[in-house]
Symmetry: C4
Subunit: 204 residues, 4 copies
Amino acid sequence: MNNDAAKSALIETGKWVSQRGWVPATGGNFSIRTQTGFVVTASGYDKGHLAFEHFLELDTDGKVISGQGKPSAETALHLKLYQLVPQTSCILHTHSVAATVLSRFETSNVLSINGYEMQKSLSGIHSHQTPLEVAVFDNDQDIERLAERVAEYHQQSPILHAVLIRGHGLYALGNSVSETRRHIEGLEFLFACELERIKLESTK
Amino acid sequence: MNNDAAKSALIETGKWVSQRGWVPATGGNFSIRTQTGFVVTASGYDKGHLAFEHFLELDTDGKVISGQGKPSAETALHLKLYQLVPQTSCILHTHSVAATVLSRFETSNVLSINGYEMQKSLSGIHSHQTPLEVAVFDNDQDIERLAERVAEYHQQSPILHAVLIRGHGLYALGNSVSETRRHIEGLEFLFACELERIKLESTK
Amino acid sequence: MNNDAAKSALIETGKWVSQRGWVPATGGNFSIRTQTGFVVTASGYDKGHLAFEHFLELDTDGKVISGQGKPSAETALHLKLYQLVPQTSCILHTHSVAATVLSRFETSNVLSINGYEMQKSLSGIHSHQTPLEVAVFDNDQDIERLAERVAEYHQQSPILHAVLIRGHGLYALGNSVSETRRHIEGLEFLFACELERIKLESTK
Amino acid sequence: MNNDAAKSALIETGKWVSQRGWVPATGGNFSIRTQTGFVVTASGYDKGHLAFEHFLELDTDGKVISGQGKPSAETALHLKLYQLVPQTSCILHTHSVAATVLSRFETSNVLSINGYEMQKSLSGIHSHQTPLEVAVFDNDQDIERLAERVAEYHQQSPILHAVLIRGHGLYALGNSVSETRRHIEGLEFLFACELERIKLESTK
């Protein structure tokens, strides 16, 4: 994908994500792998009203080669994920209530979700009996350090679809914009189910 | 109804269902009984943006007679339900958080709902004191086997309005598109009420 | 208000109520007091898509003087409320999850709400320390009998803003369409708060 | 900002706030500091459909210098907050379910929120480990007295982003309309998370 096509795709995606309430208060950031490196949203803009001037073009090492504004501090995590998971073409980082709360409720480093048909919306999962495992990392304002922890974890348990940052939000990966969007929709549905299921089961 | 009218009705219905959040991540599938058999959605498309090319025409045995793409694996369950419940003209399969979570919370094979005026939105129910019973089946990736279990159950307790698949979603039936839509709306309202009622009662 | 103006006002109101999800599955019914009696919605239509032909004109005794279709069985309750509360000009009957669930949780015949600034959105209430009391009646498929119970209750405790029918929904009253709409919005906000407050307090 | 620009900005903001459900039943009020004093919404209008005639122009002492209608009783609190926090240019007072319920659940005079990346949406907060503290005041129909309590509190613990009135709602402050809107979005996200987190933790 070329840089302009990538920006257009993320402008449209931003509207879609914003309508669902998953990027409040200028939160979140989006990227697409392009022919020359990456396109990523600049920091501080409303993701529901993006325009071409709200993007930066980066080379494969993360150096800004075009565009104004500040790259989000979390750009380092996008780059790390593209390096670790080569088939990834699009990364969407969102903030939903369900993802944020579940990532705090789960105190281990893996959120495991099982028994839902919707797990099959994640690529490579073909049964509700195949647990969906999402790594959960403690939040860290030092993004380089956080990226290193993600890399270390990946050596043991390869990251496939997504990463949760505790109390922070979701990074969803996919081999295309539409796959990443489908992964977010599937994951957010499952997070919403788990929130309700946990509360309901506690009444028994 | 002819095949083209059926597709148009399901395109419109898809927008309606999608706006309510009940077919996330390309989930769900829809069908209508036609003069020549059935029209059913092909697998893998966003149900909020359907077009004529996203449908398959099947004969009464479920053999594809027109259309491209893969019929959903769950087509076998649509066919079985049309055979079992002859007055059925439209089947909508949806994934809502409430239906999914309640179907897991209910560990028996019947979800019984009572005491709500809204039960009267289901055809044939004329009082809040007539329990609404919805069969719940364990999910199964072998759809033929699942369809057989539905058929066996139906011999004992006829299926009327809907079937829940545990951790999976809702199949709603009706004698017209509008009746099936009304059944989904009534059922989803009741599921949402039950979720809240159970949590609230547990505080007593 | 004349009959046509009343129908137009209720068509617009129906869209507004429907967008908020308070009249699912053709539920609910609306009326306005007119120069010649009452205008009321006919039974069985989607309240978000009303047209002139979906209304009946009734005289002050509830006899149909114009219009096709069946008056809702609940028309008798509208008439009784207009008789009991003379300043009432518009009655909107809605089905929300919060109203339905709270009316079942509250087992007495009064739901009392206190401590919210939003109580002041109900006419005649000027402080959060003035309890808002809403009568709750057991549901009954015999509407005439239900209407009689409402009348008896009113002799003891005058009905001011609204009535809840247990497991059924809300009847909101006002001296104009806009007042009744404001009453519904205020009441639904308070019901939603109470649902959350009760669950939250139970965690202490 | 001049008075007309302020009114236009608040008309647009009113639509935005209303769509999110945070100003039901004509609740809420908005203001902007202008060259000649303040512009504030008049009492009793739907904040989602504001027009120029729904605003009052006040001088810096709160005296009405232009406009019809009644200034909201809460105008006194807007004025006090502008005096106490000089960098404030826009104040939005809203009523959400989450803010209202949390302000009652928290029985002390400070709601402290910690561990969320979203805290950084509030100006001056740069880490999820910097607690966000929002003062909570008991509701009072005597707004002058309430404003005095706010002033007293501010001497001890300066008010930065927002104030909660118990069972009533949120006053959000910012140095521009867009900052106040971002503060509201960030705060409402955090309130919604806290509601869910508290319920979820209680199941452990």
